[in-house]
């Protein structure tokens, strides 16, 4: 960077602000992770200290491993998140393509209707959803969670993706039509790769609330077989006694899969293959 564009003082100030924000944002997470490796007494005596040779204790992790069915909970969380994500991206992209590509009566109204869910939280409908799930016999199944999360994620994904789909070159789609590609192939082979960065954004925004959700697993699928990680960690929080080692260990473990998924998608966020398609 040349001196014409930035002064040392301004660069330093910008970095100072960003570093301060990073520290504040990461501090609680760091606290959970370091304390998960400490003995119970050390957690309470010196909560801000990193584990030393003396205070290092894996009792939290062994408790989590030994008690309950944590592998199963992880599996449930992962199944629910990945499946919901898949459906949100698939249906969201399809709806967005239809809204942005085809002229039909009520196009704008349909777009507004589909975007309404951004403003109205799905939890308002919890009672009705529970009745629906009871009536259809889906209580205590992962299917119930996947259905609810798909509905929850669709409005935002349609809203974001349709904006991006409008930017995909009409000429490219028309070239496909003249070459005899079906609308499905135009959608999957030409348009989807070009909106991949937008898909990654939507994936990240959709995935994290699903993984972290406690509400719907508690209401719709609290059985032992269908518990998710966030719900599973609750067994260590009691009314009178809380096993903090186990809680912190469970939470630390719960960060890992979502971090991996985030890393996968964030690579896509940066990568764009649109160059060369159109000028």
């Amino acid at each position: 960077m040349t001196a014409a564009r930035a002064s040392l003082g301004r660069t330093a100030a910008a970095h100072a602000i960003l570093i301060a924000y990073t520290l504040i944002a990461l501090f609680p997470v760091l606290l959970i992770v370091i304390n998960s490796f400490k003995s119970r007494n050390a957690i309470f005596r010196e909560p801000l200290m990193p584990p030393t040779a003396e205070t290092f204790d894996l009792v939290g992790y062994t408790t989590v491993w030994g008690q309950g069915n944590f592998i199963g909970y992880f599996g449930n969380s992962l199944t629910v998140t990945v499946a919901s994500l898949f459906f949100v991206l698939l249906f969201g992209a399809m709806a967005a393509f239809a809204l942005s590509e085809y002229r039909f009566r009520g196009n704008t109204m349909m777009g507004l209707y589909l975007a309404l869910g951004i403003m109205i939280p799905i939890r308002l409908g919890t009672v009705a959803i529970l009745q629906l799930m009871v009536a259809s016999g889906l209580v205590n199944t992962l299917t119930a969670l996947i259905l609810v999360y798909t509905a929850q994620g669709l409005p935002l994904s349609i809203f974001i993706l349709s904006e991006f789909m409008k930017q995909v070159s009409d000429d490219l789609k028309n070239a496909g039509r003249i070459d005899g590609l079906s609308e499905y192939r135009i959608f999957f082979r030409l348009v989807l790769p070009l909106v991949r960065p937008a898909m990654a954004t939507v994936a990240v925004f959709t995935m994290i609330p699903i993984w972290n959700d406690l509400w719907f697993p508690l209401i719709l699928a609290p059985s032992e077989q269908t518990k998710t990680v966030t719900l599973g960690a609750q067994i260590f929080i009691g009314q009178f006694v809380t096993n903090w080692n186990a809680v912190l260990a469970a939470l630390s473990l719960a960060i890992v899969p979502v971090l991996v998924l985030y890393l996968i998608f964030s690579r896509q966020l940066i990568r764009g293959i649109t160059s060369g398609a159109v000028k």
Binding site: D171, N174, G176, D179, G180, I273, A277, V278
Partner: protein, 333 residues
């Protein structure tokens, strides 16, 4: 193989009438250029011929068969787009062969056609590259190659040179002209640039506000424009229009092309002051503010030394004046 007939094609988007009844006859092997200002409906008309847009009414006949209900891929057409529209995930060879593969053409036929097209457009060194690794001119050649391998009845070009820089534009224009001569195929070409229209076309269709203003050979439009719009659109710099009353004429407007005016420092019909002069080397454009005729452009061939503020007299060539009536139509004589 490759005639096109358009019968009373109309198109409206909601209440907006974009095309108001277009009739057109294109013979086999003709190079027809649609030209007009932006928003005149020329691209919409091309998209209707291609089948990418449905006409509100009217018929499109390719080789005598009405194709109004035929999907684009089955119409026997190929199209070259302004933005190239190459498939970003496919290399040059696959870009060119995709349409043929979709149509179920035999592999050896595809190979021969690609070989001849790439030789014709000198694309051989690039066949394995992706569009991202090509320059703008190369990309447009690939797009043309993709059209050529289909051996269509009708080539459609949608402003194919607009995204290229000036030097490449001239080269590619030449290539398209040669392509037409070699393939003897029917070509429809849309542009807003009258230079492209004049240099490429056998027949120019001038469109304005959804209607055809005039159809004719380039020189026909230049020498005998049907109305004020065509007279002003064809030719560069633009024709001078002078209020008839100021010159003591009965016609509403008098038109004279900049190249049909001679200037002299002393003698002439219209005395005026030089406002600005553009020295292009091969010719010199002088903007002259005349007492009688108002602001006019004069095109002088070769170099002509003149400074703003100088006084010049302009004289239109006899017999090169165009007279237009109140309705904009050209009057005889």
């Amino acid at each position: 193989m490759g005639s096109l007939v358009i019968q009373n094609v109309q198109k409206s988007f909601g209440k907006v009438e974009v095309l108001k009844g277009i009739d057109l006859d294109v013979k086999d092997g003709e190079f027809v250029v649609f030209v007009g200002p932006s928003g005149c409906g020329k691209s919409t008309l091309l998209r209707i011929i291609a089948g990418l847009e449905d006409a509100s009414s009217g018929a499109v006949l390719i080789d005598g068969a009405n194709v109004i209900n035929t999907p684009p891929a089955k119409r026997g057409i190929a199209m070259v787009f302004q933005t190239y529209a190459l498939y970003p995930h496919l290399n040059v060879r696959d870009n060119m062969s995709l349409g043929l593969k979709q149509a179920g053409t035999a592999a050896d036929v595809i190979a021969t056609r690609i070989a001849s097209a790439s030789a014709m457009l000198s694309l051989d060194p690039y066949l394995a590259r992706r569009p991202a690794e090509l320059s703008g001119g190369q990309r447009q050649r690939v797009a043309i190659g993709r059209a050529v391998v289909r051996e269509p009845k009708l080539f459609l070009f949608d402003e194919p040179l607009s995204n290229l820089d000036a030097a490449l534009r001239v080269n590619t224009r030449l290539e398209i002209a040669q392509l037409h001569r070699r393939l003897k195929a029917t070509m429809i070409y849309v542009t807003h640039d009258q230079v492209e229209a004049m240099t490429l076309a056998d027949k120019i269709v001038v469109l304005n506000a959804g209607q055809i203003e005039q159809i004719g050979a380039p020189m026909e439009l230049y020498n005998a424009p049907a109305n004020e719009f065509v007279a002003g659109f064809i030719g560069s710099p633009k024709m001078n229009f002078i209020d008839g009353a100021r010159l003591g004429e009965t016609a509403k407007t008098i038109g004279v092309r900049p190249e049909h005016i001679t200037v002299d420092p002393a003698n002439g019909d219209w005395k005026g002051t030089v406002v600005h002069a553009e020295h292009l080397g091969a010719d010199t454009n002088v903007y002259l503010d005349c007492e009688k005729a108002g602001l006019i452009t004069v095109r002088i061939f070769g170099e002509y030394r003149v400074e703003p503020g100088a006084t010049l007299c302009a004289t239109p060539h006899p017999g090169k004046l165009f007279r237009f009536g109140a309705d904009g139509k050209r009057l005889a004589g």
